[in-house]
């Protein structure tokens, strides 16, 4: 009787010279079956898309200098460059508006509104957020994660694919998925962070036998 099994796949460091779909096919072709789900870490998808920048390439605006002062130190947006990076993609006025709406929402005990409205603010990883050599970069969220997931399914013949944002703090979210996937269910399966930490270099996780277990 088949059981769910999470298989992390070790890779070399993937860069913007790589295609994430081809990398998955290369490193996991012998493991992926037609009943499996392929999960890939969002930061690695973004890196292979060249979706990152460096603090040295950014010119902080007064809006970024202003807003970053009100973000707790733990967040990527607490750095003036993290905030500026999010503004580069979302637009500085949109981020500023989202921030003020989020601040008002907090008065009514509703948290997380800023990050819901300014999506890049929640997806952007500041310096140190990823492993060398990208530890000196600000990595954005991935572009078109649903399409990436669909391409993975077409290329590998797997049951489904997701682009996931998971960390060791028991936070798990699916940012993009192929048709027919239940993102909340997959996020729950990934909650213990099978991707491990960056230095383990396992940005791909295969959920074995998902279709068979689901059919039971």
């Amino acid at each position: 009787m088949a059981n769910l099994e999470l298989v992390p796949i070790h890779t070399r460091i993937l860069t913007d010279k790589d295609d994430i779909v081809e990398a998955i096919a290369h490193y996991a072709k012998d493991i992926i079956g037609p009943e499996d789900i392929v999960c890939v870490a969002e930061s690695v998808v973004a890196i292979t898309q060249g979706h990152f920048t460096r603090p040295e390439e950014l010119k902080p605006t007064w809006q970024a200098r202003f807003l970053c002062r009100f973000v707790p130190a733990e967040g990527s947006m607490s750095s003036v460059y993290g905030m500026q990076a999010a503004m580069e993609l979302e637009g500085k006025w949109k981020v500023m508006g989202a921030f003020f709406i989020g601040a008002i929402a907090k008065l009514f005990r509703k948290n997380g509104v800023f990050y819901q409205l300014a999506r890049q603010a929640s997806l952007t990883d500041d310096v140190t957020g990823t492993m060398p050599p990208f530890d000196k970069h600000i990595v954005y969220g991935p572009k078109e994660p649903n399409q990436v997931a669909e391409r993975i399914v077409r290329r590998t013949g797997c049951y489904g694919a997701v682009v996931a944002d998971v960390n060791d703090l028991k936070r798990s979210a699916v940012l993009g998925h192929s048709r027919g996937m239940d993102p909340k269910k997959i996020a729950r399966i990934l909650i213990d962070n099978p991707f491990g930490n960056d230095s383990q270099m396992t940005p791909i996780v295969v959920i074995k036998n998902f279709a068979a277990v689901q059919a039971k």
Partner: protein
């Protein structure tokens, strides 16, 4: 009448903006920034880590601390040894740094966040290679050599590069070679 009303409105807006700006500057001043400094006075003496017929590897630990009120990210640290050939030409020198808490051997500094009032240790390695092939003879007459430790830091404000200097003295090298 309209003119005076307009003036009043403009002045009021300017005063409000100025007050908000000053309030923010005060808030930012109270909040502070990172301030990462190397405590060069508390560095360890250079010690010989490896000695071959041709080369000597010296190692020295330099503590650092974040004296600011905010997190600081050390993005890069690298040494710059300063020994012009006009001054001494018997050795070629390679130097590199690593985080002593997460030691690496590739000369790459992995970015690290330093919380306020916390710190760490930079491990500096200096490799001297004798040009004649006998390092003990080649370091005779070695002068005091300045080494700038250059580091790039980013926090709530703009990234910046700072440097602090240590000196590998002739006496220190001689003493390390004797041990």
């Amino acid at each position: 009448m309209f003119f005076y009303t307009l003036i009043n409105v403009v002045v009021t807006i300017v005063v409000i903006i100025a007050a908000l700006y000053l309030a923010f500057r005060f808030y930012a001043w109270r909040q502070g920034n990172e301030r990462i400094v190397l405590i060069t006075k508390r560095r360890t003496p250079f010690q010989v880590e490896d000695l071959t017929f041709k080369t000597v590897t010296l190692v020295c630990d330099i503590p650092f601390v974040n004296r600011g009120k905010q997190n600081g990210t050390i993005m890069d640290v690298y040494p710059r040894h300063l020994l012009p050939q006009e001054q001494f030409d018997n050795v070629s020198i390679v130097s590199w740094t690593t985080d002593a808490n997460r030691e690496r051997h590739d000369g790459y500094w992995e970015s690290v966040i330093i919380e306020p009032r916390k710190g760490g240790t930079i491990r500096l390695r200096v490799i001297l290679e004798g040009k004649t092939g006998n390092i003990r003879k080649d370091v005779v007459g070695f002068p005091d050599m300045s080494i700038d430790i250059v580091y790039q830091v980013v926090g709530r404000s703009d990234w910046h590069i700072s440097k602090q200097r240590i000196v590998l003295t002739a006496e220190e090298l001689a003493q390390a070679m004797r041990q």
